[in-house]
Symmetry: C3
Subunit: 241 residues, 3 copies
């Protein structure tokens, strides 16, 4: 039996990962799905990356978890990298699931195409409280392309405005992921086009891990909604010894 | 219930798409498989791209079809792009299935490797009526690599000489596909090696669509022969709202 | 009924391919799994590439095999290319399964990343008899990423030290693979990360074959251990007419 902690991506909360957590629990493992600072109901939308990382470090300490397989989705890859830097002694393996892999000094926006940055900047200005949202057509076509329309809409309705500062804050690391001694895996959903135009998740970002285990699975960026059972299987293949 | 129009590729006719159309019909949709000008029995082989496009524009008008999901295979991508430019008001979504995506002023030959152009030129000269055929070894190994020998031969025997002019004619568009407001999808068969040598269909051509929905499915360029049911499912995933 | 000869990769023997050979035999074919010079119990570890090639040429002659579908895995791609050059008249088709494809004058080390060469050189110096072994963490994460821990360990325990000279010897060929008239296929396991960092097996090495048939299948570099039935099916799809 292993202990999994699933860290959600931007616009999500831990609640949306429960459907993925359940098949992992059914296989005999302990699974936690905390919600990051910045995405909890009532959180101010000026939250930065360091606060988000701290919220997971604190979660691990409060629950006194050890030998944790720490899984990060998308923006969650920024967070689990920071947690590994600050609380590595509680971790057994990092699992990046179509997630950003930062080196020291990089921010999320350093790894996305210029047209996304321009779009997010414009939306942030329009909203005015520091948050950014994802327009539905981009969500439908590029994030959840493998789901039917009803699933895409229901999932979209559950999203929350995301603090833009977490995309702009450079991460501070004592060592880059390739130099971290912890075991690492990358789960790549093969129809994920959330990062378009020749800037794919894998191998562009995965190779920053140095030695890592690749697990690939059919699906979009939001496989947690379109097929959580398949995603759970991939996470377990990535997390096992 | 939706209305699908399936536009075949070079050397094919609409008849070869009936096996793909049938499972789409069985799911409750209306499906048409017209044959393009230049590929109909008796057509002169000096037919150009504009005539092929016109033949679909006319087909939509004759049947008075609207809200059409217009699917194009391979060379058919040239044709559906032209139809969207000229009869966009009848269309709901474009679905490119391992298909060429032209910008204004591009011809099909602009998107294929030089050794194919040289081969096609040589064959066209030898035949002498403006048409080109595909040598069987290339068909067998690079176009229908996922089928058994009998299926590959039977499918080959049904092909018709294709008017080479349609490969050389630049398309005239008021707007490039990325700027077209219509919804767009790209179906990518993952074992398609009809375009070899680092010039793949996806993402090289698909990214010219701007925002689009990706659907991937195992199979060769000629999945319509090797597994029409699987292709039909992919087309429906690409075509749904 | 066809005749298959399966040529193993570095660190392996023919014995490890029996689990793959059996489903091919069950489909009615004749299958041989010889062990290359340099990997047989008692072989000196100063064996070179030419001796390994000769051991297969001799095997084909001793058994008087003809119309052979010659399959090479990884390093075995070097060997089958040399066999095609020297005993092509006995062969019907070459099948490269995540295998190296050399042109005249190339050695295996010319096709792998610099950090592997440095690692192998260091290990060779430490062992001192001309052989090299693969560290378990690399095996587990990058070669057999799709298996459970027990399978990964059991397979690792069966490996034998590999003669490093076979990686450094340039191959001598009368014609490069693209110019060879024999039919060719490439089986690509899609989760194979044994060659990392933007230097993939396919299409980087497969395209050196010229016209070839692509077969793709989910799995790691060591699918012969993690799912031999699936591999056997892929080899038969690659080998059929």
């Amino acid at each position: 039996m292993a202990t999994y902690v699933l860290v959600h991506g931007a616009w999500h909360t831990g609640k949306e990962l429960e459907a993925t957590a359940n098949p992992i629990r059914a296989a005999g493992h302990e699974v936690h799905c905390p919600t990051l600072a910045g995405n909890r109901p009532g959180d101010v939308k000026t939250t930065g990356l360091d606060e988000a990382i701290t919220s997971v470090v604190d979660f691990l300490a409060e629950k006194d978890l050890s030998d944790v397989i720490l899984v990060g989705h998308s923006y969650g890859g920024m967070v689990i990298t920071g947690v590994a830097d600050r609380a590595g002694e509680r971790l057994k393996r990092l699992v990046y699931w179509n997630a950003f892999v930062p080196n020291d000094g990089e921010c999320l926006n350093d790894m996305i195409p210029p047209h996304y940055i321009a779009l997010f900047d414009a939306i942030e200005k329009e909203i005015g409280d520091g948050s950014v949202v994802l327009p539905f057509p981009i969500w439908r076509e590029a994030f959840i392309n493998d789901a039917d329309a009803a699933t895409a809409q229901r999932a979209y309705d559950g999203l929350n405005p995301h603090p833009m500062k977490t995309f702009k804050d450079p991460i501070k690391l004592k060592a880059n992921p390739a130099e971290m001694e912890i075991a690492k895996s990358y789960v790549n959903c093969t129809e994920d086009t959330a990062l378009p135009h020749g800037l794919p998740w894998h191998p562009r970002l995965s190779e920053k891990l140095g030695l890592f285990r690749l697990v690939q699975v059919p699906g979009s960026h939001e496989l947690c909604f379109s097929n959580p059972e398949r995603l759970a299987k991939a996470i377990m293949d990535a997390g096992r010894d």
